[in-house]
Symmetry: C2
Subunit: 157 residues, 2 copies
């Protein structure tokens, strides 16, 4: 049962089975939806989409699968302060999708940003290395979110 840390290798059919997970219809459906969707989907959002195509996939499986995918590092679980978890595909084979978030604390609008990241990434890598060494942590990922008021909401005073 090689169920441990299976991050950072090939891509998903292989990645999945290579980690000892079975490749089921439900799991494929979820990955499929996730890769075709933009934005930050809740478990129920995903359930609805998946369910319309594969009516015999239950909500429980959505949660379980998202949990697996998240542990595998294939999906990021996000918290924007509305009281439900949100998910997005973490990265494709080449890390295309990695980005950070800008969240409006008033209307919950969320902006993905990928610019400004270059210097960030550099610093983050150093920081990760430094922190990892100092605190003996094996760091696998990070979350960076900026909070504030979007243009619309800051107008309202």
């Amino acid at each position: 049962m090689p169920r441990g840390n299976c991050r950072g290798q090939g891509w998903w059919h292989g990645k999945f089975q290579g980690c000892g997970y079975r490749l089921t219809a439900g799991r494929e459906a979820i990955l499929d939806i996730l890769s075709k969707s933009e934005g930050h989907l809740s478990a129920e959002d995903i359930y609805i989409k998946v369910h319309s195509k594969y009516p015999n996939v239950g909500l429980t499986t959505i949660y379980r699968t998202l949990d697996v995918l998240s542990n595998l590092g294939m999906v990021s679980k996000l918290d924007f302060g509305d009281r439900r978890a949100r998910y997005e595909l973490a990265e494709g084979p080449k890390g295309e999708r990695h980005h950070h978030h800008l969240v409006c604390t008033n209307c919950n609008k969320v902006v993905d940003y990928t610019d400004f990241i270059d210097e960030e990434v550099e610093l983050l890598q150093e920081t990760e290395k430094g922190l990892g060494a100092k605190y003996n942590f094996k760091i696998t990922n990070h979350i960076i979110q900026f909070y504030g008021l979007c243009d619309k909401c800051s107008g309202k005073k």
Copy 2:
């Protein structure tokens, strides 16, 4: 009703009343506990501590007050993935407490770190400025968390 953005001025007796909030025993009790405690307390943690000293403060008030304090920027609401919010005093008058977090995804251990922050802060300020300008956001704060395995948990393979 000057109930809007009341961040970043004096310190709390004044800050509170200056924003149109009434200064109640419950609120003082909560701030008192928070300033005397280390670590990342859940609403219930706080409730228990407050309640032992002021038995007539209800859990609902804890939640309401934490929400107010959080909106005022006096308290940070944190999410470490166990399914309850955690709170800590955001900063004293001089910003002493500001720090970021290192979270073990296995045992939920959380490390506060304040070193490595200097360069971070610099970059963050630039990033905040840049993002604010580009997306017309009025950024008020940020969250940075690194996730990984702590020394103990990475040993277990």
